[in-house]
Assembly symmetry: C2
Amino acid sequence: MTDSKKRGKQSICFDNPPVIVGWASVAGKKESEGPLGRYFDITSDSALFSSENWEEAESKMQMSAVRRAIEKANVKKEDIDYIVAGDLLGQLMATSFGIKNLNIALFGVYGACSTMGESAALASMLIDGGFAKRTIALTSSHFATAEKEFRFPLGYGSQRPLSATTTVTGSGAIILSSRELAVENCDDKKQYVSITGITTGKIVDYGIKDPNNMGAAMAPAAYDLIKTHADDFNTDFSEYDRVITGDLGVVGRDILMNMLSSDRIDISKIYMDCGIEIYNSDKQDTHSGGSGCGCAAITLCGLVMDKLMKGIWKKVLFVPTGALMSTVSYHEGNSIPGIAHGIVLQSAL
Amino acid sequence: MTDSKKRGKQSICFDNPPVIVGWASVAGKKESEGPLGRYFDITSDSALFSSENWEEAESKMQMSAVRRAIEKANVKKEDIDYIVAGDLLGQLMATSFGIKNLNIALFGVYGACSTMGESAALASMLIDGGFAKRTIALTSSHFATAEKEFRFPLGYGSQRPLSATTTVTGSGAIILSSRELAVENCDDKKQYVSITGITTGKIVDYGIKDPNNMGAAMAPAAYDLIKTHADDFNTDFSEYDRVITGDLGVVGRDILMNMLSSDRIDISKIYMDCGIEIYNSDKQDTHSGGSGCGCAAITLCGLVMDKLMKGIWKKVLFVPTGALMSTVSYHEGNSIPGIAHGIVLQSAL
């Protein structure tokens, strides 16, 4: 193996960083009315997306995100070697039914709400490792499918505490390509965004048991990932324009900042959380913020790619965060372990 | 990228095939009493494995499999770079709680009962691609957790039709290492087993809707994988000692053989199905055979590794098969798409 790629135990600096040649976001009504609404490619006034049930709606969102990303990449689906995808539902049903007609080799993944980070990391490794020319990383979440899967059917009208987050209805897809091929397809030299490195998370469990406070459950995993990234790449984050977590919300953010400050890591000026950005919580009654795989995914494929493509941001550490729980684990009295997956996004001319 | 690795669209022939330096199987009572009983490393007379509930039992099985595999590989857990793992439960709960104390970077995967093939494929790519020196591929299933997750609580005492399979209580783990390191650790030259290639599956849906006939639902995916492997590696399987599917059972086997015969592919003399081998269905009342991620995993880590290490078999195509369904997808009237993941195992001196 080329030891040059490895940075510490959990990080990789790619020899041949894959380029993001296509990206697309599909978002629901509430998300389209939020502060990031104008960044989304496809939005719908109906949470059903013309489907018979919520699950089918989420599957349709995935397929729409893939189709639009393929269009924007100006490739054919036959040009894609692998798709790395997952979602929050039991047995990844949104993904299985969403992409079953794509006819592309699939690696199904589950990282709870960190799935966009996990799928992008693996999709990048497939290219840097010489296994593929083009790959897709894909994920989604849907407010109604997630409430049914993790909390209560919507019809119950349950009250939720202020520490609870709102699951984002959205799907994001990115198409990665070897740089060689990406440059070949460009008529003139223009800005592009690469994934230059990754830091892969471990399971971190601080014993939080409240499923209405997932920000607190995930904050230690985000802390562990960011601290490990700093160590592995020997950085104080001064060369980063943003460090972006997935869905810690306001409760999780404060815990994360506290934890980092004990290591004298101060990222407060460049810190952003997709869950906080995606809604206007005062006006939209979304409590602690947004969550779900789709939260990080559509913020990446919307706002983050926009800033990077315009060169406003040059280097971003993107850290989707996941809470590893199920209704069964909750009812059996278990804690909610967290995990986070980091990818480094860099824009270049 | 090194085009030399690619074989067709879905297959890879590794430049640096990782070596399986440790492997372990943990099995339940019924499995230990079946025809493969003597091959398993750890067995228990109690399906609870000294736990408070079935889910905890399944998690314990995963941890025991990893511990024993690490022991047999004669490495420390700190020597492992990544673990690629998953299970059948909603949100991968057996894995999350099983390995949370391992402190190893995790890629969570879901491929239903094909998970051992998916995790082994990714764990191999991490090594061949130069991202890791040692990786673990891990999965499990448990009869009682699977019945609760997919069918009915055990207490109902539901009757099942003869086409239904019995979920295997078992967990299998393999430790992969770069060949360089594996040879370094050997005192004398002895037999070893490598993963020399992979064929990654697509979702295949023939419209089967009966969750009590998952063999029929998965057979088309197994067919697609085996046919693709034959095309990608330009083989008639004459150099293979075995082609082994995961859990088609007797119903799925017959469908697979029929489908292959229409392409004039005859593997009947070298064909084996883990689901058929693992129980004595006449005496053990297991109907169409065994199923679950654990079925393929413990057969691999038991029988298959034994034959390969003894040089009785030299080359095996191992094809775990998965049925992509959940109780939600079933109740919404959906079909059961299948997927299969193939890995090529070769023994050498």
